[in-house]
């Protein structure tokens, strides 16, 4: 996260780290239930096999032991069948954890949007991640406040065809707060005006070259577009329908 700040431990209990040896942290992910997490499909390019991944939750500092840390292997990676590597469209994956994590105050699922519920343009939401900060990679989880940008406005920044209805834009024209490499798959969450519940509206997906001076907002997978698909994947892989 560029222009963010260090998060207080436990502030974002749904944030997880998707790790693979020997590199360690590769992408962010988001816990949506004790057995299921979301991330973006492009994180698995070249590493499609579930057994080489693990999901780590409950941590702030990537390389410090924590009593709240929980980790799980990955049983199944379900990338969206229409994921397009070339234009980063339909960039979403559902990840089934090998074991159910224990819900604690440091490890909790986030709510998905209701059908059709989109974040309101010009409202402020939060992104989090262990991605590049512009001058270095952080050890501690970073958070940044970003403004939701309407689809037409975002299409003007990039290109009408590049930004599809499967995407959301958030950030600033000046690029002051933005997600960056290593944040992919992590959450864009917004707090409901009435009463402290947070919903997952976006997954960090792509943007301009964030650590140069090329400016503009970040682009996130639009979770609202995928809620039905997510529910169906979880349902189909939870029950013996074959």
């Amino acid at each position: 996260v560029l222009g963010g700040r260090v998060s207080r431990p436990g502030r974002w209990p749904w944030q997880c780290s998707l790790q693979s040896e020997p590199s360690g942290h590769i992408c962010g992910c988001v816990l949506i239930s004790p057995r299921w997490a979301l991330t973006v499909a492009h994180c698995f390019e070249g590493r499609e096999s579930a057994d080489q991944w693990k999901v780590v939750l409950g941590i702030t500092n990537l390389d410090h032991p924590s009593p709240h840390r929980q980790s799980s292997g990955v049983t199944r990676i379900i990338a969206h069948p229409r994921y397009s590597r070339a234009v980063v469209d339909y960039d979403i994956s559902v990840v089934q954890l090998a074991r159910a994590v224990q819900v604690t105050s440091y490890v909790q699922p986030v709510c998905l949007p209701r059908p059709g519920q989109l974040p309101i343009p010009d409202t402020y939401c939060y992104i989090t991640g262990w991605g590049h900060m512009g001058n270095r990679m952080p050890f501690k989880l970073q958070e940044g406040e970003v403004r939701i940008i309407s689809l037409p406005q975002c299409q003007a920044y990039f290109d009408t065809k590049t930004i599809t209805s499967r995407m959301l834009c958030a950030g600033y024209e000046a690029g002051t707060v933005d997600s960056c490499m290593g944040d992919s798959g992590g959450p864009l969450v917004c707090e409901e005006p009435s009463g402290g519940r947070w919903r997952l509206f976006g997954l960090t997906s792509w943007g301009s070259v964030c650590f140069s001076k090329v400016l503009g907002p970040g682009v996130y997978s639009n979770v609202t577009h995928f809620t039905q698909w997510i529910h169906r994947q979880i349902y189909l892989h939870s029950f013996q329908l074959n």
């Binding site: 502030r11 909790q108 065809k161 519940r197 090329v214 349902y235 189909l236 329908l241 074959n242």
Partner: protein, 374 residues
């Protein structure tokens, strides 16, 4: 130390900076970097001249975004060729060594394009000092552009004028080529696409009848099935017999015959309804158990049951279609609820319907911040 050594260095663990880039070069490998797929050579060797250890690292580098953007300014005809010679250097198949660009190519690229970068506050890539490349005519082989070199990368569209613009700007309704050629012949048909009847949206032919609506009015997913009267159409337009719909087993290859089979009526006391054989059924409360209530909530993604009620049918209620709990349901572990119910010849003895209220799994709440006394 950001990455492991290339395989040719024989290292899997953390790399030793002494041998990571200098004495140790990789073997020839096919070029996979999309940006540089139309070069007059097709194999490369790493590390490259920007210090990247692999094509994957090259593909996400700042330079692989910078050069395609810079090419659009038309600052130098052979800029993309130069960019590729340093991003994915040519590999000599005999020596297995990388072949550098000639110094004159580097100097020309820098001379023409560095100032353009300066206008937007960016700098020429630091790693690409031209002095590291050999002079043309020296005893070291080096690369120069020849007539076979493409000015534009595969990610670009070449204007009639010869200028390169990013491929996605072709036919996007905005003029990007200096001669407007990127907006010529841009109908759906001309681009090999299908036009949605009610709009100007073009979609790929492969998207028609593929189970995902793409046209604004969903026309691409209409009239895709030819099912007979006793069949229903799956989401992917296969046909499945009505009697197999929502029976707990998948018959559509996309499983859509088992979607949305169980629901709780929102306005009628959370009554359980099951869509079976293409008809809505009430669930008879005879033989209903708490385990089935838990399964119902879990299947709907709504946590645990908080209230279960057996609601009597009011006198004079319309005749209902009933599903009954299968006598051997407990042996069908792991099944969906609809697979544990069956139709029977007789009506529901108790004439009571099942009503379940679920908790809705808790989510989206951050723990309260601790209060520290000052």
């Amino acid at each position: 130390c950001v990455s492991s050594c290339p395989p040719a260095c024989g290292a899997q663990g953390p790399c030793d900076p002494r041998n990571s880039t200098t004495n140790c070069t990789g073997r020839c490998e096919p070029i996979t970097l999309e940006l540089c797929m139309n070069l007059p050579y097709n194999s490369t060797s790493f590390p490259n001249y920007l210090g990247h250890q692999s094509q994957r690292e090259s593909s996400v580098s700042w330079e692989s975004s910078l050069f395609p953007a810079l090419v659009q300014t038309n600052c130098y005809t052979y800029l993309m060729f130069f960019a590729c010679t340093i991003l994915v250097p040519k590999c000599d198949s005999v020596t297995q060594q990388r072949v550098p660009p000639c110094r004159s190519l580097c100097l020309s690229s820098k001379q023409h394009c560095e100032s353009v970068l300066g206008m937007v506050g960016l700098q020429w890539p630091e790693e690409s000092h031209c002095s590291q490349f050999p002079e043309e005519g020296s005893n070291v082989t080096c690369l120069l552009p020849d007539p076979d070199v493409h000015e534009c990368s595969p990610s670009h569209f070449k204007c009639r004028s010869g200028r390169c613009v990013l491929a996605y700007k072709h036919c996007d309704g905005h003029t990007d080529c200096d001669d407007h050629s990127d907006e010529d012949n841009c109908g759906c048909v001309e681009r090999g696409l299908w036009a949605c009847p009610s709009s100007r949206v073009c979609i790929k032919p492969s998207m028609i009848c593929d189970g995902f609506p793409d046209c604004p009015l969903l026309e691409d997913e209409r009239n895709c099935s030819m099912c007979s009267d006793n069949e229903l159409a799956c989401n992917n337009h296969e046909c499945v017999h009505r009697t197999l719909w929502c029976d707990g087993r998948k018959h559509c290859s996309d499983s859509s015959d088992e979607w949305d089979c169980v629901s709780l009526s929102p306005g009628e006391g959370s009554l359980l309804t099951v869509f079976r054989t293409a008809v809505h059924y009430q669930v008879c409360a005879d033989e209903w158990t708490p385990e089935l209530s838990a399964l119902t909530c879990s299947q709907l993604g709504l946590g645990a049951p908080v209230a279960v009620e057996m609601v009597p049918d009011p006198p004079g209620a319309p005749r209902r279609r009933w599903l009954h709990v299968h006598p051997e349901w407990s042996q069908r572990n792991g099944s969906a609820l609809q697979g544990l119910l069956e139709k029977r010849g007789h009506s529901c003895h108790s004439r009571r319907r099942v009503s379940v209220v679920c908790s809705s799994e808790d989510c989206g709440r951050r723990p309260a911040g601790r209060v520290y006394k000052r």
